[in-house]
């Protein structure tokens, strides 16, 4: 039977790892290479690494860093941040990365999804939507670290990117980011119904029970988390952690 995927998500800012709350107030977590190495030794299911500066700074991805991180992974690695062209995507995949994630580029150039997936296969193309609740119900999509609002409807976008060749969709809840109070189950429900490709939820996990709750409700799904796997305890002490095989089995 296919297991649900439990995925640590790391954010890179100024060459170092950070953790945010509602996409703000970044707290320094440390060196990306050592963190990835520890996650690898803990045999995590997959790993997501997002460079949160690349798009905003309008610069190329840090290929050297990506290569160094990929070298440490004996599990699939998904990289996102600053990818705008097919050749960038191909170059990153050739460095040993399994999946590339695009976010803002989708809105500048939706055809990019088709172009990339026709070259590398749709299984390697992940679309991330950073999502915030609207005041009077519903959700809106943002880019550029929650600074730019996108005018299209979230559900329509979810359907469109799948038609264009997306292999996975990650929904990142801005409201729940770093809050550690649980996932937005309504949001998952809304999106899961509209996805025929694998879906991953990110934002809000504060304890392992939050993950088991999502798995119980939704079955085959990816549960990604940042704070949960880098913080420990009430002082949010930085400590890389991940459930061992026994504890993971208990979650599903």
């Amino acid at each position: 039977m296919l297991d649900p995927r439990i995925i640590p998500c790391l954010l890179v800012h100024n060459k170092g790892l950070v953790k945010t709350v509602k996409f703000k107030d970044s707290k320094y977590i440390g060196d990306p290479i050592n963190a990835v190495k520890i996650f690898n030794e803990k045999e995590v299911d997959e790993l997501i690494v997002i460079d949160i500066d690349a798009t905003v700074e309008n610069r190329e991805p840090d290929y050297k860093m990506i290569e160094n991180l990929a070298n440490e992974c004996r599990m699939p690695l998904c990289y996102g941040g600053g990818i705008k062209t097919v050749s960038q995507a191909q170059r990153i995949l050739s460095l040993g990365v399994e999946k590339i994630a695009i976010s803002s580029a989708v809105f500048d150039n939706p055809e990019l999804i088709k172009e990339i997936s026709s070259q590398v296969g749709n299984q390697s193309v992940v679309i991330i939507f950073d999502v915030k609740k609207k005041l009077f119900g519903g959700y809106e999509v943002y880019t550029h670290n929650a600074k730019n609002k996108i005018k299209s409807d979230l559900i329509e976008l979810v359907e469109k990117v799948q038609e264009l060749g997306a292999g996975e969709i990650i929904i990142n809840s801005i409201d729940n980011d770093g809050m550690m109070k649980g996932y937005d189950l309504d949001l998952i429900n809304k999106i899961k119904k509209k996805t025929s490709v694998p879906m991953t939820m990110l934002g809000g996990a504060g304890k392992l029970e939050d993950i088991s709750q999502v798995i119980e409700k939704f079955g085959i799904i990816g549960c990604a988390a940042g704070s949960l796997f880098v913080f420990k305890g009430k002082y949010k002490a930085v400590l890389i952690n991940y459930p061992n095989i026994k504890d993971k089995q208990k979650l599903f």
Binding site: L2, M75, S94, L95, Q123, S124, E168
Partner: protein, 205 residues
Amino acid sequence: MIGIIDYGMGNIKAFSNIYKSLNVSHKVVKVEEHLKDVEKIILPGVGAFDHAMRQLNRSGFLDALNDLVLNQKKPVLGVCVGMQMMANCSEEGVLNGLGWVDATVNKFNKEELNNKPLPHMGWNSVDCTIDNQLFKDISTNSRFYFLHSYYFNPENKDSSIALTGYGNKFTCAVNRGNIFGVQFHPEKSHHNGVQLLKNFSNLQC
């Protein structure tokens, strides 16, 4: 000497890193000359079937590769699309496969999947149906990482050596003589994958 075929598809570095850590001599094969002293072959692959076949056909060393595998009987391990390429053809595309194993590649049946997402993505258990050197020291029902939307369907069920369940059970590993194939990604399956790749390097064929 293990030759990891680089025809533009697949995570070459991941295989290379693992064999480096195991201290097994290996090289990346980009041109025909590189095949000279290769005793075992890894054929990786990700992406679409036709695209992969096109790349391999253009590589300039397909004939030499065929010779090594079919005539010289050097052990070869096809991984994911690399395994699918060893079939006759695929429902995903129109080009012919390598035909090393009498098989087709089929799309997962949506009804049998019962709303499960595609691609088949994540860790699933591999049930060995027969003892095989490739799975030495790997307990049955071990988990490996899968990422694909089509599956390998051998004509001769004897060549199927392991099954995985997604919707129905499908063949996730094959072996016919010197030819091996796995649908999952041993290069991304932590210690189980490392063990399998180690077993492949130790094969007596």
